[in-house]
């Protein structure tokens, strides 16, 4: 599996996904999303709580992709309303990121390239003035210092909470698998039953088989074949 995503750890889940899609020179379609699912999952797995403050969003995106992949393998699967919304949202975010990427390039190319300068204010040197504010007192300084200190120390706390909230991708994969069909097992034969011609049937069998191999690679499914040349029975682990 060769894929390279070099990202700033705070860039977020969509930047990463868009990069994967664009690396494969694909446009944003359900099919292209499904095709980068494995790479994306591998990427999310390579992240850990330590280097990503808000990993939960990456996991949400990964789970949406897995959902779409499951649906592409098992067309009988029906999305819930919530899942439909999740998928629409993902597509919308990716489109927003396509616009954003374009805009970013423009900013990047102009930022600090040809700067406009203004002059620095010149302090009146000749007269040394001292203008006091009568509210000023040691007590005032102390209370401002203490308040500032509190807000300065606070952000760390927020970060910790965010990390604790993060979901692990393993849990999500499990959730997805329970979503695959109400039936616990599926056979390749039933999957290709809808095909009209033998030729078509063969085609479906082959593509499904390839797709299933990918899921198997992820350890998301198990496949059993009771007799040589017999039907392959899929089940979740």
């Amino acid at each position: 599996m060769e894929f390279t995503v070099k990202l700033d750890r705070f860039e977020g889940p969509y930047t990463a996904l868009l990069e994967l899609i664009e690396n494969k020179k694909l446009s944003i379609t359900e099919i292209s999303l499904v095709s980068v699912t494995d790479d994306y999952i591998a990427y999310v797995r390579s992240l850990n709580d330590k280097n990503v403050i808000d990993i939960s969003q990456f996991v949400v995106v990964a789970s949406t992709l897995m959902l779409m992949k499951a649906k592409s393998l098992f067309p009988e699967m029906v999305y819930t309303e919530e899942e439909e919304r999740q998928i629409d949202d993902l597509e919308k975010k990716l489109e927003l990121h396509t616009i954003l990427k374009d805009a970013e390039l423009g900013i990047k190319n102009t930022f600090a390239k040809s700067v406009l300068y203004s002059r620095a204010y010149k302090l009146p040197e000749s007269v040394m003035v001292f203008v006091i504010d009568t509210r000023l007192s040691l007590q005032l300084l102390q209370s401002i210092a203490s308040m500032t200190l509190v807000t300065f120390l606070e952000p760390k706390v927020l970060t910790k909470i965010a990390v604790e909230k993060a979901i692990r991708i393993e849990n999500v994969i499990e959730d997805i698998m329970t979503r695959i069909k109400s039936a616990q097992t599926l056979s390749l034969q039933t999957m290709s039953q809808s095909a009209g011609t033998v030729e078509e049937k063969k085609k479906i069998l082959i593509t499904s088989f390839m797709a299933i191999l990918e899921l198997l690679k992820n350890g998301a499914l198990s496949a059993t074949q009771d007799e040589k040349g017999g039907d392959i029975i899929l089940s979740k682990i």
Binding site: E11, Y117, Y121
Partner: protein, 170 residues
């Protein structure tokens, strides 16, 4: 003459100065100052200078074409680097209409507090209430005198707005 007064103030101040403050110094109302901006730009340009207007503050600056000369003169290193995350947030603040932190985090899919904070500290964005916008400093770094001069502003701004409004459903 108002134009002359404003130029004098901008020249003295150097730093960006709000239209409110200018109005009070010139003893006119703010609307008169804002109405004078166009003429102000023309006047400044006669002396090869530009007026930057970020929607609130005015500042008198040198032209983009002269930036190499200025750098030679100032011999000061520019803080030209933006991390990818900060670049992303700056771009969103630039092209959206005064977005808040939530909108930015919503689009990016990550908490954006850190980047927003970094940009606030560098003085590239400002926060009024919850609304974020570019500062005069950012305009200067980008070599533009108003928001509309951002690369491809109108098209990108509209694409964003259109796409974001589709949000309703959720």
């Amino acid at each position: 003459m108002l134009i002359e007064k404003i130029i004098t103030i901008l020249y003295l101040s150097g730093d960006p100065i709000s239209c409110d403050k200018i109005a009070s110094l010139c003893e006119v109302n703010k609307e008169e100052v804002v109405a004078a901006i166009k003429e102000l730009e023309e006047t400044a340009s006669k002396a090869s200078l530009l007026i930057v207007y970020d929607g609130e503050n005015l500042s008198l600056v040198t032209k983009k074409e002269q930036s190499a000369l200025v750098e030679k003169f100032k011999q000061k290193e520019l803080e030209g680097d933006l991390t990818p995350a900060n670049l992303q947030v700056l771009t969103l603040v630039a092209y959206l209409d005064t977005p808040n932190k939530e909108t930015i985090s919503y689009i990016r899919g990550v908490q954006s507090s850190q980047s927003i904070r970094a940009l606030l500290i560098r003085g590239l964005i400002k926060k009024e209430g919850e609304s974020l916008s570019l500062t005069t400093e950012a305009f200067k770094y980008l070599g533009i005198t108003k928001k509309e001069e951002l690369p491809d502003f109108e098209r990108i701004n509209q694409s964003f707005t259109k796409k974001l409004n589709e949000k309703e459903g959720q």
